[in-house]
């Protein structure tokens, strides 16, 4: 192999790993900061207060007296508004009537709302292909679209089924100008709890007051997409770490290749320091352009899908803000390559030149037990060739193992997302159907053939009564809730009385709760309900920000709190027959129990695009590692290959030797990769994405087979490429070298 080719091969390795870094950084940074960027751009308020419609003067008298208040504005929100545009219609629109003041949304196209115009949310514009100047029918009135707005206080339509439009107060009758929504901007958002405490204390006479802080909105947006975003961010971090490992291994292997030249230069009087500097400089010359190209390609590959993903969440893509991140990645990759090159070079250069010239490895020679036990034959010969350079073999195995681990993780992730979407059991739910029937019908439902159990399930979204901005969900069953939902206990015990609660780890972490602590909840009616925490459960729903309780205290605080019946089916029960039975009781068609991620096809499609981009990059790295390992082996064993050919060995024989060398790398790498995914990467992603729950990210048999199959295919491809190149060489030249 010519020096130019070797350089190109090394650059290809840096490029491929940088592609992974680029994709990981783009996805991870975009998702981790998308909300903050959108909130900043939209001037999202620090607190949004919802309440029963009230005279503006009366509300404002309370609001303007609040401490730490920098600005305020009001809106009237009207729900269930019919919206229609050519080819599209919904009756679930939300019209927000802007009553002056700061907006809390950003106009991304067109201009702000004026009389007899409408501004629509970006999600609606994208989904219905609407633009400024188009007409939108709102409750029968056709209004021109003045602009497109971005407001990250909810996910975008159609991820949420309620598209939002904004109207000027002058457009609506006077009866719609009293507010039911207040937007508050605080002088110090870190002291929002103080403002909210005062707001609550002076809220007398204002019905159904509910607050949500900017942090609460962030949580809700995360919940709207389920666990997906957290998983993606965690996955990106793992991909970044994997890429770092690959780079280090690749650089290490490159130094191995250069050892003879180190010996010569040391013999000529070069100092170890000069050699190391030269090696680092050479590595930098290769790494910087290759990494820059790889990062750019990686970023571009996933920029589109990431932008779409963020748009569905009403968040903002980083745009040029990504450039400093990529530059930092470039610096990091370059430094890593230089360091990974310099360190083994330093170790090698400090040893006696004669030892280096004899072709010694970086480490002192050890007894090679494995090689001796390999059986003869072409495959075995190839394996011995690969194992002869132990350090390079280890670096290649590490690279491919990391690739295999990351790919395995992706498969596990995809499988988990499907289960989270379709299988309520994944989130600890043991019931399959939800029927809209009153609690007193539970007995009748239990009598339906195929129904194993049924009980009313009360759900209310509330807030922590002491901090106010922390949203949480209360789920109440009369009696033993574990018949229907049984997330595993992480601490304490199950609840036994009306005054006890099992809280999710997410909630326990947010509020510092543990068994014996008090959970104080402000329910939507304004009352405070308290529970003693009996246990902490690893629940996945609602990011673990939930509490299981019994309904008595909730109903005492809110007697009109509604419920639905959770229906658990007997094994093998016919759902249709059960549905018929429920309908005979007057229930509308039952719906399946919900799981933990969105079902929106568009969102999941975008997600698949992102994962594909990362997967492609990881596959490239894997292919590179194998080709590099085989090419190095073929070059070192040029004479042996020539001898084999001289003795009558054809393409197949050479390919068999190279395949043996490849298998010596791939087989242990596959095992190590699967173990890596099972014991390191999976738990790591699970903990980063959802430390509050147990995410099943273990590889299944099918996934193991898929990873192994992929590696086999890559092995075949790498073998074919290198064998073809080896067969093009002159036999005589090879024999002369031998």
């Amino acid at each position: 192999m010519t020096p130019r080719r070797r350089t190109l091969l090394a650059a290809a390795g840096v490029f491929a790993a940088s592609v992974v870094v680029g994709t990981g950084a783009t996805v991870g940074y975009g998702l981790a900061t998308g909300f903050d960027r959108a909130a900043e751009r939209a001037d999202l308020p620090d607190v949004i207060a919802r309440f029963d419609t009230e005279g503006r003067g009366r509300v404002d008298a309370r609001v303007r007296a609040l401490p730490n208040l920098a600005a305020r504005s009001y809106r009237r929100e009207v729900k269930q508004v019919p919206l229609a545009a050519p080819g599209h219609a919904t009756n679930r629109g939300i019209a927000q009537i802007v009553l002056g003041g700061r907006r809390g949304y950003a106009i991304t196209e067109g201009h702000d709302v004026r009389r007899r115009e409408v501004v629509i949310e970006r999600g609606l514009a994208r989904a219905w292909d609407l633009h400024p100047g188009d007409l939108l029918e709102i409750a029968g009135a056709r209004l021109p679209i003045a602009g497109i707005a971005l407001s990250p206080d909810n996910v975008a339509f159609p991820l949420t089924v309620t598209p939002r439009v904004y109207l000027d107060a002058a457009t609506v009758p006077p009866g719609f100008r009293d507010p039911n929504l207040a937007l508050l901007w605080l002088a110090d958002p870190g002291r929002a709890d103080i403002t909210l405490t005062q707001a609550r204390a002076t809220s007398f006479g204002i019905g159904h007051l509910e607050f949500i802080t900017r942090d609460g909105v962030r949580v809700l947006l995360g919940q709207a997409a389920g666990i997906v975003i957290s998983l993606l961010v965690a996955f990106s971090l793992v991909a970044l770490a994997a890429a770092g490992t690959m780079l280090a291994a690749s650089a290490h292997a490159d130094v191995q290749r250069r050892l003879p030249s180190f010996g010569v230069r040391r013999a000529l009087g070069f100092t170890p320091g000069a050699l190391v500097l030269a090696q680092a400089a050479a590595a930098a010359r290769v790494a910087v352009p290759a990494a820059a190209a790889g990062l750019a390609v990686g970023a571009l590959a996933v920029a589109g899908p990431t932008r779409n993903l963020l748009a569905q969440l009403n968040e903002e893509a980083p745009g040029v803000a990504l450039v400093p991140v990529l530059l930092a990645c470039l610096a990091g990759v370059s430094l890593l390559v230089c360091a990974a090159s310099a360190w083994p070079a330093w170790r090698a250069a400090r040893r006696p030149p004669a030892e280096v010239l004899r072709g010694a490895d970086l480490a002192p020679p050890r007894r090679r037990r494995g090689a001796g036990r390999l059986r003869a034959g072409l495959l075995g010969t190839g394996a011995r060739f690969a194992l002869a350079a132990r350090a390079r073999w280890a670096a290649s195995v590490a690279t491919v193992a990391m690739c295999a681990g990351v790919v395995g993780l992706m498969f596990a992730l995809a499988s988990l997302l499907v289960r989270l979407r379709d299988d309520p059991g994944t989130v600890g739910k043991r019931y399959e159907l939800v029927a809209r029937l009153p609690p007193e019908d539970a007995g009748a439902v239990r009598a339906i053939p195929g129904v194993a159990d049924a009980a009313p399930r009360y759900v209310t979204d509330a807030a922590d009564s002491f901090r106010l901005g922390e949203p949480l969900r209360l789920i109440a069953y009369p009696g033993d809730h574990t018949r229907f939902e049984a997330p595993p206990l992480a601490d304490g015990r199950r609840l036994r009385t009306d005054g006890e609660a099992e809280v999710g780890v997410g909630l326990a972490d947010a509020l510092g709760l543990r068994p014996g602590a008090t959970l104080a909840v402000q329910v939507p009616g304004g009352s405070e309900v308290r529970f003693r925490v009996s246990g902490v459960v690893r629940a996945l729903e609602n990011d673990g920000r939930l509490a299981y309780v019994r309904p008595a205290r909730l109903l005492a605080a809110d007697p009109v709190l509604g419920s639905e019946l959770a229906v658990r089916l007997s094994p093998g029960a016919d759902r249709d027959r059960v549905a018929d039975g429920l309908s005979r009781l007057g229930a509308p068609p039952p719906r399946p129990a919900g799981a933990a991620t969105t079902r929106d096809a568009g969102f999941l499609g975008v997600l698949a695009g992102v994962l594909r981009g990362v997967g492609l990059a990881v596959g490239l790295v894997c292919l590179y590692a194998l080709v590099q390992a085989l090419a190095m082996t073929a070059r070192e064993r040029r004479g042996a290959v020539a001898l084999l050919r001289a003795c009558g060995g054809g393409d197949g024989a050479v390919a068999a030797v190279l395949a043996g060398a490849a298998l010596a790398v791939v087989v242990p790498a596959a095992v190590a990769g699967i173990a890596l995914q099972r014991f390191v990467l999976g738990p790591l992603v699970s903990r980063w994405a959802a430390g509050f729950a147990d995410l099943p990210l273990n590889p299944g048999v099918g996934q193991v087979v898929l990873v192994a199959g992929g590696l086999a295919a890559l092995t075949a491809a790498a073998t074919a490429v290198v064998a073809r190149r080896a067969m093009r060489e002159s036999v005589v030249a090879g024999l002369r070298e031998e």
Binding site: R62, R64, A65, L66, P67, N68, L69, A70, L186, A187, D188, R191, D193, I194, T195, L196, T197, Q198, A199, R200, A201, T202, S203, F204, G205, S465, F466, R467, L468, A520, Q522, G526, S527, E528, V529, R530
Partner: protein
């Protein structure tokens, strides 16, 4: 804790409701830190507490120099100092654990406000902090212009006198420890619970109930009577039924809003009417304390005039039906104290004809001196006040009428044919800014210059959190602008010759 709905409970409930209703309707003015800001300066002339960035956090800011105000004429360079005196007003020392309190009325909306204050358990400590601050200013005398206590209760007066005269102060009543609406075990989010709600002050209530020692005012102090000193919640004359409620164990903490009148009503009549109705409400069970009974006006006056440390001028007023008296601040200045509390009920001031006659005589006797009048209610908010003002208008040498009641700093010129004098109202210790006021009367160009400036209390101990909470209170002095403008605080008020 328990719920009560018996006749006794209903009576208590109705009484409490009406009491506070009347307070809120008729007298809105009377009825407005680990982490605490740095200790206040000796006076706001050097430094004061401000919230420059509007985040609800008080910080030490620059002082506010005196502003010359020549609205009445006069001016020139001030000369010799004739007297230096201080004013403390509306100190509202309260027994926040008393069943006679009505903190729940805030949530009824309408005209009700400030029946609950987040810092209400700290009134004795705030007063002690103000006493220390005033002492540092070394006044010759201190005017304590009414609403010394919050609800005419005996235990409240005991505490207030202990703070003002000096000695051991025990803010705790009933059983040891805090029993009331702010305790952490009370799941009522409308009341600030310092152990739980923001800003969190764990153990604040425990500290609030701890006995402490007050240095007492170093200078003699002259009290004026306010409506809260003689009326329950500043509104309703004490009765046996109210005493039974106050010394009982049932503290009403929630009330059916439908029972609360929405328009101004005659308090006594409404109480009678409501006592006959059933009034379901949430209640706490608290330990009884006989010291929570209401003092009758004569008892109050006897306690004030009979104090061992009472100045002779005050002792001389003993036995009168109203606490009207005069005191000399040196040879050139006379203070005339008027009792404006209406014993029949209500927070509006009242001067009876006999008091007006006494006032005219007192003014006549003060001829040749500078005259300062001290009252609880501003005279222009007092029945009979117009006649009193007319008497002052006709008297040379009147410099100022110093009052409280409104919880707001305000200085207005009162012009007369002869020149005029100043009407000065001072903020309360119950609400932000929790300041006292200093005065220094000097001669100036043939007339007078009355220099006045505010004094922040020292914020030591729990007084710091008390001021922070008062500042944050969305019904309190911050949003209502009780601190007034700069011209209402630190000013040099010229009174022309002949005024």
């Amino acid at each position: 804790m328990g719920r009560g709905s018996g006749p006794r409970g209903r009576m208590a409930l109705a009484l409490a409701a009406l009491t506070a209703a009347a307070v809120a309707l008729a007298a809105p003015g009377c009825g407005a830190t680990r982490g605490a800001p740095a200790a206040a300066a000796p006076s706001t002339l050097q430094a004061t507490l401000v919230d420059p960035d509007g985040d609800g956090r008080l910080e030490r800011g620059p002082g506010e120099p005196l502003r010359d105000r020549s609205d009445l004429g006069g001016g020139g360079r001030p000369g010799a100092v004739l007297a230096t005196f201080a004013q403390l007003t509306d100190t509202h020392v309260r027994d926040e654990e008393s069943p006679a309190r009505v903190p729940f009325l805030d949530r009824m909306g309408g005209a009700f406000s400030s029946t609950f204050r987040p810092q209400e358990a700290l009134s004795t400590q705030v007063l002690a902090a103000a006493v220390r601050a005033v002492n540092r200013a070394r006044p010759d005398v201190v005017l304590v212009t009414g609403d010394i206590v919050d609800s005419a209760a005996e235990d409240e007066l005991d505490q207030a006198l202990a703070v003002l005269d000096g000695g051991r102060v025990d803010p705790d009543t009933g059983a040891r420890g805090y029993d009331g609406v702010q305790q952490a075990s009370d799941p009522d989010p409308f009341f600030y619970r310092p152990d739980l709600d923001a800003p969190r002050y764990p153990h604040l209530l425990r500290d609030a109930e701890r006995p402490f020692t007050s240095p007492g005012l170093a200078a003699p102090w002259l009290p004026a009577i306010g409506n809260h000193d003689v009326l329950v919640q500043g509104e309703v004359p004490p009765t046996r039924r109210i005493d039974a409620l106050a010394t009982g164990t049932r503290m009403v903490v929630g009330l059916d809003p439908a029972l609360v009148p929405r328009r101004p009503v005659d308090s006594a009549a409404a109480v009678d009417r409501l006592l006959a109705e059933s009034a379901p409400g949430r209640a706490l069970r608290v330990p009884a304390d006989p010291r929570r009974r209401s003092l009758r006006p004569a008892e109050l006056l006897a306690r004030l005039t009979g104090r061992r440390a009472a100045p002779a001028a005050l002792r001389a007023a003993a036995g009168r039906p109203t606490l009207d008296y005069t005191a000399d601040l040196g040879p050139a200045v006379r203070v005339i104290v008027l009792d404006t509390a209406n014993r029949a009920g209500g927070s509006r001031g009242l001067l009876r004809p006999a008091q007006l006659t006494w006032l005219r005589e007192a003014l006549r006797r003060a001829a040749g001196r500078a005259i300062v009048v001290a009252t609880h209610n501003p005279l222009d908010g007092t029945d009979g006040g117009a006649a009193a003002l007319a008497a002052l208008d006709a008297t040379p040498g009147v410099v100022a009428v110093v009052s409280g009641n409104g919880h707001r700093n305000r200085i207005r010129p009162h012009r007369t044919a002869a020149g005029g004098y100043w009407l000065i109202a001072t903020s309360s210790l119950a609400d932000f800014p929790q300041q006292a006021r200093m005065f220094r009367l000097r001669r100036a160009a043939g007339g007078y210059a009355l220099e006045t400036w505010m004094v922040d209390h020292d914020g030591a101990g729990v007084a710091g959190p008390a001021r922070e909470l008062a500042f944050l209170d969305a019904q309190g002095g911050r949003p209502q602008g009780f601190a007034g403008t700069r011209a209402d605080r630190n000013a040099r008020l010229f009174v022309p010759a002949g005024g």
